[in-house]
Subunit: 311 residues, 4 copies
């Protein structure tokens, strides 16, 4: 179960208490505050708190005494300018805090982003839930031939089912052994009162990497966009992209003007090398350019043609 | 003037708009939100925004779905435990944003704390105000003989007045030259329409280090306490301590339980070396210990005796 | 096998090529450079590179043109002073880079230290080795009753053997399934040429948390000491402490003066709270102080008495 | 004087002591190690130490036991790939340490780059030198009309001389007052033995922002390239660019393969927005595109045409 009734009651209780504040508030984000947004089979993303809004970016860029600018159109112009010219510090003035439930192997990719604050659920202190990730058949793909760290075609249905069964059986088995070694069940009840349980910090090592963990993760708007630019990207592993996609929607609710600028200048923009730029200039001048003689490797050429929509 | 009427009107306008939010809110901090808290002769500290409260520390430590614990006494016990055992990440889950007006030489000390976000008023883009810091006579002290980076006795009144006059005359003179080179006055009016003004990014180099600058400065609760522990300390230069002291009061308003723990375990606590600890143990065992034979240098011995209240 | 012959040959080849350099060099550290220092059953720590030495700390503190000071005794005095007074930046001027092989659950604790640079072996790109950690019987302890995140007494020998067998059998089984899903063996050979293998980024999720991973980990001297202060401590989990203990020895080889200061002022020193300090002062004044009336909780009292060697 | 004879003797002494080491060493960088590379009228950049080389980037990307790859061409291919796809962590495995002498207003821009280690010469502890920056006439430009934070045309020769004279006279005057307040000359001699000098931490506030300071500055290769990408850029203020240009040459000496990739993919590359990319695609398809209807603002259009070499 993604969220149990007791947890839902806690969330409802938090949502039942609006409080007056002089701070900027964002209605579209308040709508989903504290609510679990489902990801994968058992995971979620919850927005727990936030600081600032689009106007706060402007206010910081101007070091102003009040709101920043008077008009939304001015805010938009300034935010576009800031993103385009890599002025990152005004975006660091907004902050967001998430509660995330995610498979351990996803957590291990995620944690590489160091400019964030993290509190993870402690398996030294507490027992982990019997919850593990089993990919859907359409996610069970073969190793890619082109991209040595990606996926290719989807497995045949029978093979996909077999993989799912293997993963499920292994996870069930190790969780059973985990409880056995702890001498304690998921619900905290003791299995055999006559014997001692192994320390939690040790027993956890028998769990597989698809078990779910949880953490509070807080970052600023600049670093959030950096994270999303890498993790909502087609090169990211599907499982972390599933989280990034949901967070992209929270970005849109939170700071819609910054979101638009992010999509235009970062997510859907492109970086050209000096050699690539030279190819574009020659093509625009009417020259026929081939990979041979372009100064680009075969792979770079392919990437450039894809960027230019000529593949 | 610390704040002009137009700026005060902007602040009043922000304070006139309470908005409902589901986020935790702290009444004692809301009372002073946006208001300039005076520091030195022209400076101030304004709390611009904040995220979280004492309960948010507990909530993060527990990775909880709701508030964390039910009772304030439990929160206090857990927060004391966290601070005592250097569990820093739960305190990183709260964030605060200040607007600070401060002399440039203070800004240069402050900026060494790198785990914060900063947007400084740009003197490449804008003209700095005619505002500079002149120390009060009771702050004009001689170089300390013991502490090679501190102050000793206060100057004689005549000498203090002479120093103040020198500082003031120099600041007035360079500001006059600054306007002259810019060919523009503080209020933006042009001096001589027949000539061009020097670029702002160049003219500013003629200003002295006691001129005021401004910035937005945002940090998390853990790093704020680290900053205050170093800068509200007796070894810090008086001018930065003046800011830290005002911020210490905002800490108390914001997170009173964490504030108490900070004062007990950090600000008013002490660090003993292994050798110092050995001295204490021997003294408690009834032994008479002298510096010679203590394993401590003369200076360490003096510092230890001061810590133990035996000087 | 901790290191295979091919890897050892690569290491030997690196050690066979001394090169002249004008940079400071530390003979005691060069002795073990590149060599695997064994940790746990299959892990290791290798020092790959380093920058600076004790003199470089002094040199940075002085912002000097040459070496810093002329005499080792002056270096020692200054380094003691810097550590005692928490002047951390001069220690950030030295850097060290390790290659570490460690169980995944240890890697997950370690990575929380964010002020370091990390390159981890990619299981999206490569196949992990068939190597997993099985604790020795003397490490298989029960959950501690006092410390909710620690270990208590060691398991009875039979139970310990049973736990080892469970862990080993599970690890062997999931590794077999990992190869099966990949359709590829540890040595890269294909199992069944008629079928496709699952993508590596997916298959890895079936491995248990005691499998070994590897990374390059680089940090500065200040952050290394912070890491060691937390992880070579009795409260740290045994498995990460095993790594910290080996790294402590590399610290001693690298910067012996800083090492001494670290042991005296940090590792073997103690932090007293204001309330604890008050107790010490009253005891030194001859007063009999009890926990009741001390202002300390029962737990704090116990910790203080242990610090003072009175337990 | 940029470097006095005593300082030069210290540098010579460091350069006279080659030491054997098993670490990678870079001959082209060793050639200039410790030597002051002149910048502006009194400043310099000195490379003090470094860790790693191009091969170390490869080695870290592979988490290898030995050197990484066998052939330089493979190293180049991998480094190009890493830079192109924003794999930043392997570049964080190399580190460089500089000693820099620079005007205070330049130091204030520079310090915004927080992912570096800094030790600045302390004006609380020591007396600053009588050295200040006076721009050359060709650098004395008017405020730019287009770019609100940049420079336009150069001042007329007479006006340039007048500005230089003003700056020089002010700097000389405040330095005289600085010595007077300290009651101590630059060389440490006392002015009037009958009176006390003001504390150094106070007297320094009378100096203008063109006085030189010094620091040790250490960063990793990834962050160095980020710094150079922003500061060796045409939008950077000339005075900081002067430093970045000299450091760019040290980058070339240190890691020539990475340098080439940096120039191609970063320094001389370009970032296109989604809207800009759409314009390029339409132009390549033979369409005539005008700013009106391009989805770009006038300014963005101008920037895009400049990028495409069509201005």
């Amino acid at each position: 179960m993604r969220i149990n009734p007791e947890q839902q009651a806690e969330i409802d209780s938090l949502r039942a208490e609006p409080r007056p504040s002089l701070r900027p508030s964002v209605a579209a984000l308040e709508e989903i505050l504290y609510q679990p947004l489902p990801v994968l089979d058992h995971g979620f993303v919850r927005v727990i708190d936030y600081m600032g809004d689009d106007a706060a970016v402007v206010q910081a860029a101007r070091v102003s005494y009040g709101k920043g600018t008077k008009r939304v159109s001015e805010d938009r112009g300034l935010i576009n300018y800031l993103i385009r010219h890599w002025h990152t510090t005004p975006f660091e003035m907004c902050e967001i805090k998430y509660h995330v439930k995610l498979p351990i192997f996803v957590a291990r990719q995620w944690i590489r982003h160091r400019t964030a604050n993290v509190n993870e659920y402690s398996a030294r202190y507490s027992i982990l839930d019997r919850e593990f990730y089993i990919p859907e058949p359409e996610q069970l793909a073969v190793q890619s031939a082109q991209n040595r760290q990606g996926r290719g075609n989807v497995l045949a249905p029978d093979e996909a089912r077999r993989v799912q069964d293997l993963l499920r059986a292994d996870a069930e088995q190790v969780y059973g052994h985990y409880e056995d070694m702890l001498n304690e069940r998921e619900d905290g009840s003791v299995i055999d009162p006559e014997r001692d349980g192994l320390a939690r910090e040790l027993a956890r090592m028998d769990l597989t990497l698809n078990f779910y963990t949880q953490w509070y993760w807080k970052t600023d708007l600049h670093n959030l966009m950096h994270f999303l630019n890498l993790r909502a990207d087609a090169h990211a592993q599907f499982e972390i992209r599933a989280y990034a996609d949901v967070m992209l929607d929270t970005l849109k609710r939170w700071v819609p003007i910054t979101f638009d600028a992010f999509m235009n200048y970062r997510a859907n923009g492109a970086q050209l090398s000096a050699a690539g730029l030279d190819v574009v200039r020659r093509m625009l001048a009417g020259e026929t350019v081939e990979q041979a003689g372009s100064g680009l490797s075969a792979r770079e050429w392919r990437e450039l043609m894809a960027t230019l929509g000529r593949d």
